[in-house]
Symmetry: C2
Subunit: 330 residues, 2 copies
């Protein structure tokens, strides 16, 4: 009998799902629009139907061990999506209970950055690590912490909001209502804002002067930097400097073995890693210098959100073994 899990990533526009084995092979996948349903129950029914169709196609010698879901504002403790700003359904959505009732398997829900952290531990570059951080660089900056081998959820289930630490209390406006949050500088959107700031401040010619804010993306900035564009290169330097400074603060909180960078901005490679590592080291308390790895995530592919979500189920039975190993260390 082969054990499988279902991973579901609920985004504001699309919901991706897949059926995954322990090695991270995706046996079946698909997606449904998140926005097509006025009622949450109707959206849930469409998703359940699509999943059941996928399950029906599986070979006989397989079984579904559970369902993992990554969603903004997903609460690990309650299994509810709570007041998500990226979804049209208001209030508290008891998703984990609904899946459990429908499919009679455990359902584990958390936010997308936490799912990415567990995904890195189960399938990625954090295998065998017990203390690490995953930073997801997308529209915003998400973070997931694993401490002592366990996902850090915090008391209210909302730990890991490093994107909302402060760079400058009078800085850029943030969606959260504050100003100067880290994610307004360090994210796909943040680096675009930095390019526009640099174009405003400086006189240098730049190929980016011909591109509107809406059209601009990280890949364009990265390609321009590789062609020697001064503004594009300065934008990465500026972004890495701020990320490095703030990672130095994160490090002294939880003392991780490694920090993984995930997402489009991380795929700019040396352009972002070099200034990030340099400024993290320069700003670290000396006791920590040279000890903390900053590494690319191994989950840089289309299926990453599905894998991250599905990993929550593998992490669930594994917890017992982890806890016992940890105890045996004494």
């Amino acid at each position: 009998m082969k054990d499988l899990t279902i991973g579901i990533d609920i985004g504001g526009t699309n919901t991706k799902y897949g059926i995954v084995d322990r090695e991270g092979n995706v046996l079946h996948q698909g997606n449904i629009p998140t926005t097509d349903h006025e009622e949450f129950q109707s959206y849930f029914n469409a998703m359940a139907e699509a999943l059941q169709a996928g399950i029906n196609e599986l070979p006989d010698d397989t079984r579904i061990m559970g369902i993992g879901v990554g969603a903004a504002n997903g609460n690990y403790y309650t299994g509810n999506i709570e007041r998500a700003t990226n979804l049209k359904w208001k209030g508290v959505l008891p998703l984990a209970r609904m899946f459990k009732d429908q499919f009679h398997v455990p359902c584990i829900l958390t936010n997308d950055a936490n799912a990415a952290a567990v995904g890195e531990m189960i399938y990625g570059n954090a295998k065998n690590m017990k203390d690490f951080v995953v930073i997801t660089l997308g529209t915003g900056l998400g973070s997931g912490f694993v401490c002592n081998g366990f996902l850090l959820n915090g008391h209210h289930g909302i730990a890991g909001e490093v994107g909302h630490t402060s760079v400058n209390p009078n800085g850029r406006y943030c969606n959260c209502g504050k100003r100067g949050c880290l994610e307004t500088y360090v994210s796909a959107t943040g680096v675009k804002r930095t390019v526009y700031k640099l174009l405003a401040d400086h006189l240098e010619p730049s190929e980016l002067r011909g591109i509107s804010f809406e059209d601009l993306n990280t890949k364009m900035i990265s390609e321009a930097a590789h062609r020697g564009d001064v503004v594009a290169n300065e934008a990465f330097e500026y972004t890495g400097r701020i990320l490095g400074m703030k990672l130095a603060e994160t490090v002294v909180h939880t003392d991780p073995e490694a920090i993984f960078l995930f997402g489009g901005l991380a795929m700019a490679g040396d352009l972002i890693f070099r200034p990030t590592i340099k400024h993290m080291e320069a700003n670290l308390m000396p006791l920590f210098r040279g000890k903390i790895k900053v590494l690319p995530s191994a989950m840089q592919n289309q299926a990453a959100p599905i894998l991250g979500a599905s990993s929550l189920v593998w992490d669930y039975p594994d917890k017992l073994q982890l806890k016992l190993n940890w105890l045996n260390e004494f």
Copy 2:
């Protein structure tokens, strides 16, 4: 048979020790000078002798379950004190192994702020809490994190150095070698530095103008503030503003139920709690506002360092039960 533990707090000048029961009653206590011995082995022998004399006086129906030690640069994983700057013995001191060999019971070593956090959980105001932070405000600013019910040690055993997050990269010189670290503003020393800065900047009369930096202490500043001294009041406001701003960053990392303030500065009460809470709330990501308690430590007495250290032993067998409770929540 009554179970007891030994708690030892190794400071730069004095080593305090005590024999403690599960309720936090200190049955026997004493102290030996830390500085009297050129050789570490000779210091250890003196301490072992003093402890044995204490053990010999215990009633027959008691037994020692283990030894807990709090010491700057104490590493929980290795049981070594590693390159402590406040001790005269250089290099790596294998203290936990030496105690284990001498007394044939487990010995658990960690730094003093971590010991304070476990002490708060075992004897103090954090009973039944699984996610909280203790901030110790002494000569410096120490911090201990409990996450998911476990002390957070981090990968290298040095987690919780919140005192060395940055307030201002060009700010006050710090013992760690950096500038502008939180503890240069928020600690017994930090508030003295702030008083001196305010006396330099302003013209207001202040009773603190007649006191040298060496003679000045938190209690004097607190008493002056209660008598309406403008500079003393402003010093607490300034200190609380910086602490509140930085606690807002700590909160979004680990999402604690509560933050406990411990030490002389915390005993200034409202003078420090009011501005700290006000500025923490103002700087918090809105999702967290109104959710995080900032509370005084219950461990504000002479025996606190001994109790904190002794609590490490009670926490050790309790871990299994905690882990099982935690698993049963699913």
